[in-house]
């Protein structure tokens, strides 16, 4: 073999071997380190709706829980769950009568009623307020117990409640409720505050908690 050809072969073989050796390195470079801390974008490309849950405990350990779930993901996954009373995205309730109150009738009544305060209880231990305001059902409970003072605020769009009760009798349609929720604007759904914990459930277009 001529020197020129031998040199070419050697160089080609060397280049190929070097590339081969580099492949795992390249693959590794493409794979972010388990400890990598690239920051996710705050707003998703298309306007996805995200459900956020945040629990902050003020005890010595300072426990914090943050959950971010895309609503569309929840909508797609819920029908796949078939367990106990949950089937096809609908949850069975034995009877829509809770404590002798027909929930469906109550929802119908609230839907057709005008905005206003429906229930206002001011007791020595609890304050309760149930109201309809700007097409939202608002529930406010203040527990004035001496040991553990807590405050619960729930604000749910009426369309979501309608969707929840849109399934057949004795069923709650969770998927329909999530779908209705995705059409709602940024809103704080649940807020619970007591001496030890703060819980917040809200909806927005960001894929990270603040």
């Amino acid at each position: 073999m001529s020197d020129c050809k031998r040199g070419f072969c050697t160089r080609t073989a060397l280049a190929a071997a070097t590339t081969l050796l580099l492949i795992p390195g390249l693959a590794r470079a493409q794979t972010p380190s388990a400890k990598a801390s690239s920051t996710p974008s705050t707003t998703s490309a298309k306007q996805d709706r995200w459900l956020h849950v945040r629990v902050i405990s003020s005890d010595a350990k300072g426990e914090t829980v943050r959950v971010n779930v895309p609503l569309e993901l929840a909508e797609k996954v819920l029908p796949a769950i078939n367990h106990d009373r949950l089937h096809g995205g609908k949850v069975k309730i034995d009877c829509a009568h809770v404590n002798d109150v027909d929930l469906r009738v109550m929802v119908d009544a609230i839907r057709s009623a005008k905005d206003g305060e429906y229930v206002t209880v001011q007791g020595t231990e609890n304050d309760v307020r149930v109201a309809k305001q700007d097409n939202h059902l608002i529930v406010h409970v203040l527990d004035k117990g001496k040991a553990k003072r807590s405050q619960v605020e729930i604000k749910v769009p009426m369309k979501v409640i309608d969707a929840l009760f849109s399934a057949g009798k004795d069923e709650l349609d969770l998927v329909a409720a999530l779908h209705a929720l995705s059409a709602a604007g940024d809103t704080e759904l649940v807020s619970v505050k007591d001496n030890e914990n703060t819980v917040k459930v809200w909806l927005d277009s960001k894929n990270v908690t603040d």
């Binding site: 073999m1 050809k5 031998r6 072969c9 050697t10 080609t12 073989a13 190929a16 071997a17 590339t19 081969l20 492949i23 795992p24 390249l26 693959a27 590794r28 493409q30 794979t31 972010p32 388990a34 400890k35 990598a36 690239s38 996710p40 974008s41 998703s44 490309a45 996805d48 350990k61 300072g62 426990e63 914090t64 829980v65 943050r66 959950v67 971010n68 779930v69 895309p70 569309e72 993901l73 797609k76 996954v77 796949a80 769950i81 078939n82 367990h83 894929n207 990270v208 908690t209």
Partner: protein, 145 residues
């Protein structure tokens, strides 16, 4: 000499193509470090593309048993993974409890689970496409009703 060079080039080329294919889906990375006496330290890097291929080698009986045990969870896992692929990097769950820190998130099309505690650290990195392949294969191997 030319023959030898050609053979070397052929082998190298084959290895190159095989290597490129094996790593094209990235790697599955498992790191476990237990910081205590006798604690184990496991560091595994597996080419993600090898896992669905390796599943074809698992005996059907064992595969069916695995499917039986995870019958309820498989469709859910498959649906979650399939949907997660559509989203950019997401911090799904984060729990901080004292010195313990758990994070479940997606990064560059991979599911990343990090657990950090004073006595142990676990880091898991799995491409979502591999998880989807595996869950689909397991679902396919379930006995038809």
């Amino acid at each position: 000499m030319i023959l030898l060079a050609k053979a070397a080039l052929g082998v190298t080329g084959t290895l190159f193509v095989a290597g490129a294919y094996t790593f094209h889906e990235g790697v599955i990375r498992i790191d476990v470090d237990e910081h205590r006496a006798g604690g184990s330290h496991v560091h595994v890097w597996v080419p993600a593309a090898a896992v669905p291929m390796a599943m074809h080698l698992v005996p059907q009986k064992q595969l069916r048993e695995a499917v039986e045990h995870s019958r309820e969870a498989l469709p859910i896992a498959h649906a979650i993974v399939k949907e997660l692929k559509k989203y950019p990097d997401v911090d799904l769950v984060e729990v901080v409890d004292g010195k313990q820190h758990v994070q479940i998130r997606t990064r560059n099309g991979k599911l990343q689970i990090d657990v950090e505690a004073p006595d142990e650290q676990v880091h898991l990195l799995v491409p979502l496409s591999t998880l989807e392949d595996v869950t689909r294969q397991l679902e396919d191997s379930a006995p038809r009703a």
